[in-house]
């Protein structure tokens, strides 16, 4: 109970709701000035996939009963077109369409923050519970456990990247919301929600398909925990120690059994996923009926993502490479770059299968680094997921270095773009150099966070052996 009180004092200091509402107001103020900021034309903020301007274009084409995908303008989902399309042209009470769309992004951001908070709360609960069940809880004296959910939600809401992509007229806030929804559903045991979030996010941007592994682990093994064999050991060692006083925790322990993989929930998840998938596919088929059917949709959305057709500059590294590469090598390198993401999946899944949420963070970070049209919205998502593990990653190295790097790159990159495009004194290499720097910092972030997490596990093992 003491732990809960320490968290409570932290929570009171933090004042989550105060800051969350302040962030909403801040966004509203910025939305009002968004015309002057003109963020929607920034390559960092809106990509060919997420730009709402392109969506509006697609909507117009559809109104003129042409295929929304004709002319290589729009590459998003047809469902998004029917939901957000009317908003881009409507004017309600003097509010322009763009304003309405950024209100939608605002709501999506807020929902994501709430879901991250809930996920974090259950993660902290699991964290404390694991320490108790390993018999290490007396080591907590004098230390506070950070309510990582609150902090992560605030980081998500106040992250300049999130704010910029929220008022930059694009759909990445919505995509992020579905990713977070699937993680929340899996961590809270709401299988249909997890399946829904996963299917929709997969439908919107393809890359979340790798999240199926962490979601399955989450449903199968339960929330993040130290390696499972430690529990087996400590169960053998101190079965009698924890008997009466932890009765209610024990029941929870049974529910989230650390040692058994509950296949049943995974099967249900896949059932639900197939239900949602067929639902989404049918909806798409209906809306694409007159414009070339599902084949056209897959070609223009997933094909566009995988073939990297649009080589306009962005903060990723692929555009420059594919602008330079000879045409007859193109297919080869396309395969190489996409397989890069897939290569990382298996080793990480084996090594970190006891920490599915952290695994989800890693997958998101890796895919946002190597995806074909990255934007700052992707970084915003994985950064706040990183903060969910602030207790475990307390001894992460190079944090200050990484922080300075992110700040420096995010200021330098627009300046280099300006130098290249508007002033004409720089060239593409200047801008691409910042993109490489950004990718390097992301790599360091991933590597350091993984090694900090593994060190944390090692430390727990040592402590367990001592006890």
């Amino acid at each position: 109970m003491e732990d809960r009180s320490t968290i409570g004092s932290w929570r009171n200091k933090l004042g989550f709701w105060k800051w969350a509402i302040a962030s909403v107001f801040f966004r509203l103020i910025l939305t009002y000035f968004s015309k002057n900021l003109n963020l929607s034309s920034r390559p960092e903020v809106s990509t060919p996939l997420t730009s709402l301007r392109r969506l509006a274009e697609g909507y117009w084409l559809k109104q003129l009963s042409m295929s929304p995908y004709s002319g290589s303008m729009y590459h998003g989902s047809p469902l998004l077109l029917s939901i957000l399309g009317p908003l881009t042209v409507k004017k309600i009470g003097g509010l322009s369409g763009e304003l309405l769309c950024s209100l939608v992004s605002l709501v999506a951001d807020f929902i994501s923050a709430i879901l991250i908070r809930a996920t974090g709360a259950s993660l902290v609960r699991a964290y404390l519970h694991n320490w108790k069940s390993l018999g290490l809880d007396k080591l907590f004296k004098g230390n506070e456990v950070v309510p990582s959910g609150d902090v992560a939600a605030l980081v998500y809401l106040w992250n300049p990247f999130t704010i910029v992509s929220c008022i930059g007229f694009n759909t990445s806030a919505i995509e992020n919301m579905f990713v977070v929804m699937s993680l929340y559903g899996a961590s809270a045991g709401l299988v249909p929600l997890a399946a829904f979030g996963w299917v929709v996010s997969l439908h919107l941007s393809l890359y979340p398909i790798v999240l199926v592994i962490p979601v399955v682990f989450l449903l199968g093994y339960g929330l993040d925990a130290p390696p499972r064999k430690l529990f087996v050991q400590s169960n053998l060692q101190g079965e009698e120690k924890r008997s009466a006083c932890h009765a209610e925790l024990k029941s929870m322990n049974d529910k989230f059994s650390k040692t058994n993989f509950s296949w049943w929930r995974v099967v249900i998840f896949f059932l639900w996923a197939s239900v949602w998938t067929s639902y989404v596919v049918i909806m798409c088929a209906i809306s694409m009926k007159e414009y070339g059917g599902l084949g056209e949709m897959f070609k223009r959305t997933y094909g566009f993502i995988l073939a990297i057709e649009d080589l306009s500059p962005n903060i990723g590294v692929l555009w420059y490479f594919f602008a330079e590469v000879f045409d007859f090598f193109r297919n080869f390198f396309l395969i190489v770059f996409h397989v890069n993401i897939l290569f990382m999946i298996l080793p990480l899944a084996i090594r970190l299968n006891h920490r599915p949420c952290f695994l989800a963070f890693l997958y998101l970070a890796v895919s946002s680094m190597l995806k074909s049209y990255p934007s700052v919205g992707d970084s915003a998502l994985y950064m706040s997921l990183l903060v969910l593990f602030v207790n475990e990653l307390a001894e992460m190295q190079f944090t200050f270095f990484l922080f300075c790097g992110y700040v420096g790159i995010s200021l330098l990159s627009p300046v280099m773009h300006n130098l290249w495009i508007w002033r004409g004194t720089g060239n593409a290499n200047f801008y691409f150099a910042t993109a490489i720097g950004y990718a390097c910092f992301q790599i360091i972030l991933v590597v350091e966070s993984v090694s900090a997490m593994l060190n944390h596990d090692r430390k727990i093992r040592k402590l367990c052996n001592k006890v």
């Binding site: 933090l14 900021l37 602030v390 001894e395 190295q397 944090t399 200050f400 300075c404 508007w422 004409g424």
Partner: protein, 697 residues
């Protein structure tokens, strides 16, 4: 933090070992680097290279000049007409444009008037991160005073009309001076020649800019309309382009002769020459030419353009070419002795090995330094040095040629011949260009009209100066994390304890952003004197700082008290890192500002240690350090830095406090990045250094 990794891993990788070595010797390294950085800056005049024409297509001087003395005397007749108009008592400002238009039509060019009203430039703090505003709102043209630019165009017989070369002659249409008339005469003689020649591949635009509202404003207004007005806007703005400013005045007579009502365009501009004539030739032995090249925010035209002008002026017409220099530096004894020192070293080196050739004569060195200083200062200001600045905003290379005639009135024709041939030669060279200027440098500093320092060399001075910053930040950071007692069983966020310091730095930088906006509000107050505005600005900033500190203190998350002991080291580490980022960013936007700013900021940030620490130790070293700190902080405060440097260059008797306000106001009105740098990088870092100095330990 790297130290910690060294403890964990017994044998780190070589690169980490090098890093650790540098970090552990950061004091020595930073001293060496700073001194080397300052020395490298002083050495720049010595290692400056001679200019050369990089683009082969230019071929300056390969064709003989076609401008004959007849053309020159035509120009002389033209300028006499202008002078006679200007001596008339009634002058509405439309007579001269009409006269120019008539002459342009007679010589076979197209002509139109461009009526404009100067738009006061709004401050756009974000323009360096985002693109420029595409749609500039046309304000209501209701005010009484218009300017009327006259635009003449010669269509190229060999060209496809996609490219153009611009000549600009600013003049006051109500009361032109004789030197302005002379510049118009030069432009006219060249223009009338070019309308006859067969080799022209690019259209020629002659913009006789009405400088009633300022030279820059006139050119900027024309350029803005040239680039933004689309055909749809044309009908709407017809009245704007016609020249009927005074009611009852008859312009139809000219219109019938072919003055177009619409806005005439030629192709994209390859280059622009602003032709001016100075009133007196001060300091030139023969006819002189002064080149101004600095555009807004330290942007320079391609060096090739300056090279052609310099080459043709010196070798073709025998003019004496100058770029600006700071005159007061010429008689500074210390610069001269430095020059003698490097000359001596050069001689010694040459006696050791005849292959080593460096070292220039001491007077040359002093002259180079004065020119370099002026070049740096003009770039750092970010305010264009002439109407050519407006072209650079549209990526057009442009320079101002200011001729200084040295003659009695009888030699005017000869002067027109010389300058006209120079302008013709430059235009002919640019006419040869197949693409945009791209071969030569865009980023350079001049040390004389024929010597330059390119970006690759002058960057070294800056890099050496700021290289200690990340090292010192890392060293301080590892000190701070080492001082925490290790061996805690439960992870306490030792590696995240910089967050509190980062928050302080962030808050101070946000305060800096607010300080940036305050002068904008102060300007709304009518008729306030500069001194009062300055004082209001300083006091409001100080009050705001006080409130921000109080507010951020109450918002402090946690653990602030626990970390008090080593807090200042962390704070210094974060401050130094922020300074590093700020200076790097500024060096990309405007190198010269960053270089000058780094001279002030780097020593201040590196030295800062709480005064209490120094005073309690009471050794000579610490007391000297404390005194140094106080001195650096005093010098580093932007107003004192400005007033001191002004006093040092121009004498202290003329220095007044409100000069600073006027200076900063001009920076703000010209949308200079230097203003942003001062308010959002320099000032916050200065405040943080003061904060460290006054830290309670």
């Amino acid at each position: 933090m790297a130290e910690v990794s060294a403890v964990v891993k017994p044998k780190p990788r070589p690169i980490i070992r090098v890093g650790l070595f540098l970090i552990s010797h950061s004091l020595v390294v930073s001293n060496v680097c700073c001194i080397a950085g300052v020395l490298a800056l002083l050495l720049l005049p010595v290692i400056a290279k001679n200019t050369y024409i990089s683009e082969n297509a230019l071929m300056p001087g390969s064709a003989s000049a076609m401008l004959s003395s007849d053309d020159a005397s035509d120009g002389h007749v033209f300028l006499n007409k202008i002078m006679s108009i200007s001596s008339m008592s009634i002058n509405t400002g439309i007579e001269i444009p009409e006269m120019i238009a008539k002459h342009i039509i007679e010589s076979g060019g197209e002509v139109n008037y461009h009526k404009f009203q100067p738009i006061s430039d709004h401050f756009h703090p974000l323009q360096f991160f985002l693109g420029p505003d595409a749609g500039i709102v046309q304000e209501n043209y209701s005010s009484t005073s218009y300017g009327v630019n006259t635009v003449g165009i010669v269509r190229a017989p060999c060209g496809d009309g996609k490219e153009a070369i611009v000549m600009v002659t600013p003049y006051n249409s109500v009361k032109p001076t004789s030197s302005e008339a002379l510049s118009l005469g030069v432009a006219y003689s060249v223009f009338s020649l070019l309308s006859r020649v067969s080799w022209l591949a690019k259209d020629i635009i002659w913009l006789a800019a009405d400088s009633r509202h300022g030279e820059h404003a006139a050119v900027a207004a024309w350029l803005r309309d040239y680039y933004t007005l689309s055909s749809g806007d044309l009908e709407k703005n017809l009245d704007m382009c016609s020249a009927s400013s005074s009611p009852g005045h008859e312009v139809t007579s000219v219109k019938r002769d072919g003055v177009s009502n619409g806005f005439r365009r030629a192709g994209t501009m390859a280059a622009a020459l602003v032709i001016k004539v100075a009133d007196s030739s001060s300091g030139f032995e023969k006819d002189g030419l002064k080149i101004y090249a600095e555009a807004s925010n330290g942007q320079m035209p391609n060096l090739d353009l300056i090279n052609i002008v310099n080459y043709l002026a010196v070798h073709g017409q025998g003019l004496q070419v100058r770029v600006e220099k700071i005159w007061s530096l010429l008689d500074s004894w210390w610069l001269y002795s430095l020059g003698e020192l490097q000359e001596l070293i050069g001689k010694v080196a040459k006696s050791l090995n005849p292959q080593w050739k460096f070292g220039i004569p001491a007077p040359d060195y002093v002259e180079g330094c004065a020119t370099l200083a002026s070049s740096l200062y003009n770039q750092a200001l970010g305010v264009p040095t002439g109407p050519h600045g407006a072209f650079r905003d549209y990526q057009v290379d442009a320079i101002t040629l200011e001729f200084s005639p040295r003659f009695s009135t009888s030699q005017r024709v000869l002067f027109l011949l010389h300058t006209g041939r120079l302008v013709e030669g430059v235009i002919r060279s640019v006419n040869n260009l197949l693409e945009k200027f791209h071969q030569s440098f865009f980023l350079y500093l001049m040390t004389s009209p024929s010597r330059f320092v390119s970006v690759g060399i002058y960057m070294i001075a800056f890099t050496l100066l700021i290289a200690p910053l990340p090292l010192v930040a890392a060293a301080l950071f590892s000190d701070a994390s080492k001082s925490k007692s290790p061996g805690e069983s439960i992870p306490a966020s030792t590696s995240w304890n910089w967050l509190y310091a980062a928050k302080t730095v962030l808050v101070v930088h946000l305060w800096g952003a607010i300080v940036t906006i305050i002068p904008h509000l102060l300007c709304q107050i009518p008729n306030s004197s500069p001194l009062i505005s300055l004082l209001a600005w300083i006091t409001s900033s100080a009050v705001l700082l006080f409130f921000t500190r109080a507010a951020s203190g109450s918002l402090s998350l946690s653990r602030a008290t626990q970390l008090q002991t080593r807090e200042w080291t962390l704070l210094k580490a974060v401050t130094v890192a922020a300074t590093f980022i700020g200076l790097c960013l500024m060096s990309v936007i405007n190198y010269a500002t960053a270089e000058i700013g780094a001279q002030l900021l780097v020593p201040m940030c590196l030295m800062a240690v709480p005064l209490r620490v120094d005073l309690t130790a009471k050794t000579t070293k610490t007391v000297a350090r404390g005194a140094c700190n106080v001195l650096l902080v005093f010098v580093g405060f932007p107003p004192t830095a400005f007033l001191l440097s002004k006093g040092a260059l121009a004498g202290f008797d003329g220095v007044r406090l409100d000069d600073f306000w006027n200076w900063i106001e001009s920076l703000r009105e010209w949308n200079s990045a230097t203003y942003l740098y001062i308010c959002m990088v320099h000032l916050p870092c200065w405040v943080l250094c003061v904060h460290i100095l006054l830290h309670r330990r």
